[in-house]
């Protein structure tokens, strides 16, 4: 029974994706998903592994996502430097960063007690042997390490047993997201002599005088929290995985690595909560007409041939929940923004709130101008909007009386006329935004 449902979901998702290879979730997409858990469009497309970037381009809303080759080179150079010689440079940093107990750190961090395991090294890559083998190996190592330490028992025996640090490079983790298994690849895991595993993330943004770009640190912390959560769920023993992750970044303006301990308890709580809230994909799929698919119908040369209109119609079946934040995380954001034109949510959550949570701009202005009778639930918001409109008009005219005139305030009648004209944003503009992107 359970299996049949799973198969059905898988089949439906395969049909949605069509002929294209599946795009896998990673920690970044999960982090993005949890930022807007109410978006059915993103949940379904990600679960199906649809190439959203290609889809957006095909419907004329290519999003400017992409990484500069310079940033990629710098990232790779820095990571290579940190992980060179089986992470020799990193070990001292990790010991300094994770040992709250300075004396304990001093005699432990000898290299003879360090085991370095590259879990991705034997296979040619994740696809050569399939993720299952690597996942199995990762799990086996983690469990045996945990068991070894549990077996060490009392304090006296612990001293006799060589206490060691284990570094795991290229591990593979699994996490269920919206009912789907997702494979994740953290940079490194370190198991400390006390038996606790820490996630290590190598990032190439600089930490200058102990401070780094807040947004980048926040993104890295959420990403690391995804790994911690996956590890905890795999092992079933939350205590075995520390909520302290290690960010390794270049120090100041150099390439010298610097390790910083980051507590991700807050991010873990949020993730846990958001993942639980994600509607299971099956529920969303059930609501979808059976013929809907995002197959791009690639021609022999791989170029998509599916008419944009068909794809747009298919997208319309999947409700989106657009917020300006989406622009920085989702490839389809330009399309959703277009759909959200004229809605207060498109102006940002705080603007919408200030406008009394009224749904559309047209309604807001009607209520503010007294041209519409508010419903009972709108009464308070409408009163506030009328006051705001009066204050705005008085402020503007008082200001203009003091100074030479600025842009004239449109009369309400004019406003209405221009409002009704405003909704379909000229197609020429959106077409030319995407025009040059195909090459």
């Amino acid at each position: 029974m359970q299996n049949r449902t799973e198969d059905r979901t898988e089949q439906r998702l395969d049909r949605l994706r069509g002929r294209a290879p599946r795009r896998r979730h990673d920690a970044r997409t999960i982090a993005a998903l949890t930022r807007n858990p109410g978006c059915a469009r993103r949940a379904v497309l990600d679960a199906a592994g649809v190439d959203k970037e290609l889809l957006a381009r095909q419907i004329g809303f290519a999003a400017p996502f992409g990484q500069s080759p310079f940033a990629i080179v710098r990232g790779n150079v820095f990571e290579a430097r940190v992980t060179a010689d089986e992470c020799a440079a990193l070990l001292t940093l990790l010991a300094e960063c994770l040992d709250t107990d300075a004396e304990a750190g001093a005699d432990e961090a000898t290299s003879s007690d360090v085991i370095y395991l590259d879990l991705g090294a034997s296979g040619a890559g994740p696809d050569a042997e399939g993720p299952a083998r690597r996942l199995e190996r990762t799990e086996a190592v983690l469990r045996s390490e945990a068991a070894a330490r549990a077996g060490a028992g009392s304090r006296a025996e612990t001293r006799a047993e060589p206490r060691r640090t284990v570094l795991l490079a290229h591990p593979l983790l699994r996490l269920a997201v919206g009912g789907q298994d997702v494979y994740l690849e953290p940079d490194l895991l370190v198991i400390r002599p006390d038996g606790r595993a820490h996630v290590v993330e190598i990032k190439s943004f600089a930490v200058v005088d102990g401070q780094a770009d807040g947004e980048k640190v926040a993104a890295a912390a959420v990403q690391a929290a995804v790994y911690v959560l996956a590890l905890r769920r795999m092992l079933g023993t939350p205590a075995a995985v520390s909520h302290d992750v290690v960010l390794v970044c270049p120090k100041d303006f150099s390439n010298v690595p610097l390790a910083t301990r980051v507590d991700v308890r807050r991010q873990l709580l949020a993730l846990d909560h958001q993942l639980a809230r994600l509607t299971t994909v099956q529920t969303l799929l059930d609501a979808l007409p059976p013929e809907v698919t995002f197959d791009l119908a690639p021609a022999a040369d791989g170029a998509p041939t599916r008419p944009a209109g068909e794809l747009t119609d298919a997208l319309d079946q999947l409700p989106a929940r657009y917020a300006p934040d989406c622009l920085s995380v989702c490839e389809l954001a330009f399309r959703c923004r277009q759909e959200a034109a004229g809605r207060t949510a498109a102006l940002g959550a705080s603007v919408r709130e200030e406008l009394g949570g009224i749904d559309t701009v047209a309604e807001v202005l009607d209520l503010a101008g007294g041209a519409r009778t508010p419903t009972e639930s709108q009464a308070e918001a409408a009163a506030h909007l009328m006051i705001t409109a009066r204050m705005y008009a008085e402020g503007l005219s008082a200001g203009q009386a003091l100074a030479p005139p600025l842009a004239p305030l449109p009369a309400p009648a004019q406003l209405q006329a221009s409002l009704s004209a405003s909704h379909p944003v000229p197609a020429s503009a959106s077409a030319s935004v995407s025009g040059g992107e195909h090459g």
Partner: protein, 506 residues
């Protein structure tokens, strides 16, 4: 977001152009601003790639770092920038006026960058140059650390609300107009200007969409467009590297090749910088069209005094600013920022009825008409001895939804020297708003009878605000040497050490 600015955004959506949120200009604009449009190399820690600088629209100087990963070239860029910028910055120091508190320059330099990321570039670039040694193994040109200290000064002033020494154009525009898009999208200078001043025949939204396409309009930086990096910049830098290698092998034949590669990079980077340069100057022109707010000159005076103060410091001591503030310094700075913010908020509202509108919405200000005046009222001063003081009573009728209580201090925008206290709030029997009774406490001259014109007349319209820059003094800070252990104890006195200059060069 405030109620007024949110409403203005809704208006902008409807009309298709940005709606004003200010009727006067709330910042000083220099007649000769120093505009700096920087670009950095993606992925690196604040590695300058190019900059367009100058003090007039048609006098742009292009500076390019042909290989941004080469630190020698980076500091050569810093030296070039210093050669252009320092004479401008120092040029304002000579002409001063003598005040009791010391000299103050008659004018000061103003640094303009496109966006807050540009301010951050200046801050980090200042950090990477101010400690550099001018002698020894990794010596830099003598100008470089001096530039670093001046840029640090500008970056620190940029944190002070109301200071105009360094301004980001997007912030400045956002202060005066609301667009029909989100604040996040307003970070794009071209899109923001697309709403405020759309090209003929285009609505704001369409103009903003066009502006968001990096091929149509390169980003205002400092980060470049990844597509540009891949397709144009990477090959051009590679060609430069090849040319340099060839020149190393054969200096005679190779130098022309290097020059060609540099020219190619210059032409390329000019295409990325020129549009932003033009946008910045267009924005400055637009802002210049607004009349300055009444309190702008006074704030600029403070800026001028700070400039002279820092100039004197550079002449007399000139040590680089510390990497991190100590506890006491940090607390003082925070306190200064809070006070500046309160004063700036109050000033802006008094200067501009449209800013005041926000306080009227929240009930912290009200406007109304004087319906009764008890001009010659005198009451005991409350300190015994039976002395009488002049305390006229004014009754103002207002329709505004006030949220003030009896005892609140208010000041009218047209009578800023007179502090009043709310004595009573009554609902008039005939209805129609509220009657506010105010007691005037100051600003009436020294004689027993208020000087002519110092008390409002019946029929006068006034706008009273409770948003005041009350000089709340913070608790006195301990001396730096007495920093308590809770705050790390007394900090090590900062002295530039060998370590600062030996910072990894690779």
């Amino acid at each position: 977001m405030t109620a007024i600015s949110s409403y203005a955004r809704a208006l902008a959506v409807a009309t298709g152009t940005a709606a004003p949120t200010a009727t006067v200009r709330h910042a000083h604009l220099s007649a000769r601003p120093f505009v700096l449009v920087p670009l950095t190399l993606a992925g690196e820690a604040n590695a300058p790639l190019a900059a367009m600088v100058g003090t007039a629209w048609d006098e742009a100087t292009l500076l390019v770092v042909a290989q941004p990963r080469n630190r020698d070239l980076r500091f050569a860029f810093a030296d070039q920038l210093a050669q252009i910028m320092l004479p401008h910055v120092l040029g304002f120091a000579a002409a001063t006026e003598e005040l009791t508190s010391g000299p103050r320059s008659l004018d000061a330099p103003q640094l303009i960058v496109p966006n807050p990321a540009g301010v951050e570039f200046v801050r980090l670039f200042a950090r990477s140059t101010r400690f550099r040694s001018t002698e020894g193994e990794y010596a830099v040109a003598p100008n470089v650390p001096v530039l670093g200290r001046w840029l640090t000064f500008f970056a620190e002033r940029a944190e002070i609300p109301g200071s105009s020494l360094m301004l980001a154009v997007t912030d400045l525009l956002g202060l005066h107009w609301a667009t029909g898009q989100s604040a996040l999208e307003d970070a794009n200078l071209a899109a923001l200007l697309g709403w405020i001043d759309p090209p003929p025949g285009l609505r704001g939204a369409a103009a903003a969409r066009l502006a968001e396409d990096p091929r149509h309009c390169p980003p205002a930086g400092p980060t470049t467009d990844p597509g540009f990096d891949t397709e144009q910049l990477a090959p051009a830098i590679a060609a430069y590297d090849t040319a340099v290698a060839a020149a190393a092998a054969d200096p005679a034949a190779g130098s022309a090749g290097v020059a060609r590669a540099v020219t190619r990079l210059e032409n390329l980077l000019r295409t990325q910088l020129q549009p932003t340069w033009d946008l910045v100057w267009r924005a400055l022109d637009l802002l210049d069209g607004l009349p300055p707010g009444a309190s702008v000159p006074a704030r600029w005076e403070t800026d001028r005094a700070r400039y002279t103060g820092f100039h004197t410091y550079m002449v007399e001591e000139g040590l680089p600013q510390a990497r991190r503030d100590g506890a006491v310094t940090a607390a003082r700075r925070l306190n200064r920022i809070e006070q500046a913010q309160a004063a700036y908020d109050a000033d802006r509202a008094f200067d501009d009825p449209l800013v005041m509108a926000q306080h009227r919405v929240t009930g912290e200000a009200f406007s109304g008409t004087v319906v009764a005046v008890e001009r010659d009222r005198r009451i005991p001063n409350g300190r015994g001895k039976g002395r009488l003081v002049t305390r006229p009573l004014l009754t103002v009728r207002t329709e505004d939804p006030i949220r003030l209580t009896v005892g609140a201090k208010v000041v009218a925008s047209s009578r800023r020297r007179q502090e009043c206290v709310i004595e009573a709030i009554d609902i008039p029997p005939e209805g129609g708003g509220l009657l506010i009774t105010l007691e005037a406490r100051s600003g009436m001259g020294r004689s027993a009878v208020p000087a002519p014109g110092t008390v409002a007349e019946v029929g006068e319209s006034l706008c009273y605000s409770a948003v005041l820059a009350d000089g709340v003094r913070s608790a006195p800070m301990p001396d730096t040497a007495d920093t308590p252990w809770t705050h790390g104890g007394p900090p090590e006195p900062y002295e530039p050490t060998e370590k600062d200059t030996a910072e990894a060069w690779e």
